[in-house]
Symmetry: C2
Subunit: 247 residues, 2 copies
């Protein structure tokens, strides 16, 4: 727009603004928001006002700003993550009930696993996978399950880019992990996120045997019984896939 010294468009600014909110949905002061988003205070003030008029943000007295209900509503009314979530929820609940463990559902976005839903067992070990949280592919069982069942071309590209910062040896390790995952039909990572837990994940496959999502659990190491976990997850994953195909 006019006079934009930073050279980005209104859309860019709006994205910067709503991206500036941290994980925990606490209120932000206007000046803090301006700083986080890197926008001039005046601009921030004006944009916040505009967005607030539509309910995308909410302002509280004292210059406090927080994400608005309307934004939540719009997004949660129509989103690609919803159909998946809808199809998966019953099965996730089953898993949670039968196994009494933390259950999570993730999709691949870029080179990361994006967690779409999560049911946590009360009193359970910490599950770092927050809803709408991300984890790198190579450190999450969900990521491995997702990447292990993608086009070969995509996997190559991933490994190539991975080798750049981490080195060839590390990339070879990941290649092995992916191969194991693909062969076994499930991914397993012990003590990577948390020393005393283990992540297990299976892919949710579409008709062309590509992973569109992953279903996983995080269990304390000593409680782990693969023989019971994997079949249950795989059965549920097939159920989810069927549900997706129908819609």
């Amino acid at each position: 727009m006019a006079n934009s010294s930073s050279g980005d468009s209104v859309v860019d600014r709006i994205v910067r603004l709503i991206s500036a909110f941290p994980q925990d949905a606490t209120d932000l002061r206007l000046s803090e928001l301006a700083e986080r988003s890197g926008l001039p205070l005046t601009t921030t003030h004006r944009l916040v006002g505009q967005l607030a008029r539509h309910g995308l943000l909410e302002t509280a007295p004292g210059g406090l700003v927080r994400p608005g209900l309307r934004l939540w509503e719009l997004v949660n009314r129509a989103s690609p993550a919803l159909a998946l979530r809808q199809a998966a929820m019953p099965f996730m609940e089953d898993i949670q009930q039968v196994l009494n463990q933390n259950v999570n559902l993730a999709v691949l976005d870029g080179w990361e696993a994006l967690f779409v839903e999560r049911l946590s067992r009360r009193g359970s070990v910490a599950n770092r996978a927050q809803v709408a949280g991300r984890m790198a592919i190579h450190i999450s069982s969900a990521g491995l399950a997702l990447m292990a069942h993608q086009d070969k071309a995509l996997q190559q590209e991933y490994l190539r880019q991975f080798a750049d910062p981490y080195g060839k040896l590390a990339a070879d390790d990941v290649r092995t992990l992916l191969a194991d995952t693909s062969r076994q039909g499930f991914a397993q990572l012990k003590g990577v996120v948390d020393p005393d837990t283990c992540g297990i994940a299976v892919p949710v496959l579409n008709r062309r045997h590509r992973a569109v999502a992953s279903l996983g659990v995080v269990v304390p190491l000593r409680e782990m019984r693969l023989q019971a976990l994997v079949p249950a997850l795989q059965t549920a994953a097939r159920g989810i896939a069927r549900g997706l195909a129908e819609s």
Copy 2:
């Protein structure tokens, strides 16, 4: 911006654009999106391109547009609905398990109940309350539970505005419903949404005894046993309130 014949800002346009997506998260053709949002095709094309570059929308070959994962992620990372959902989920699951019924969680927005979360019993009667769906206050137990525990001033204003289109008699009926709800501590609506079901909802109260949310179930009429339902809901509601106060 310049030349905006419609006279609305970029923010308005973006809101119009993302609001244009219907409930079911199906892809929209570009031209269809332009028509729904009332924007010129060229403008729609440009804005969609910009939004897609940030991942807020996704474009598929053939001019198809759908909401993007990134948008879902941003919103679900920080939103006022999330803290509530987080606090409520364990209790909702308990209710669902123990009572084996549809459970829903709503907040008040305008003169409607906005459903924030919903767990549905498989094989259960239809529950019309979709996630991110809305229902008018006077036809939903959730709405009544919410409105019955608000400031007197707000209730008056609601009834005043309600009387305008619906007439004074109808408003008096609602006033009675609200009074009953307030006195009993729970709202009950038989066969309004669906002839064979009954909605029961209790408020989740903050320290000042104002409803910040409502917790409800939808049960088949013949299975209904108030004696069992209401105490369970109220207990859960108190648990949720405690969880909210802590955070």
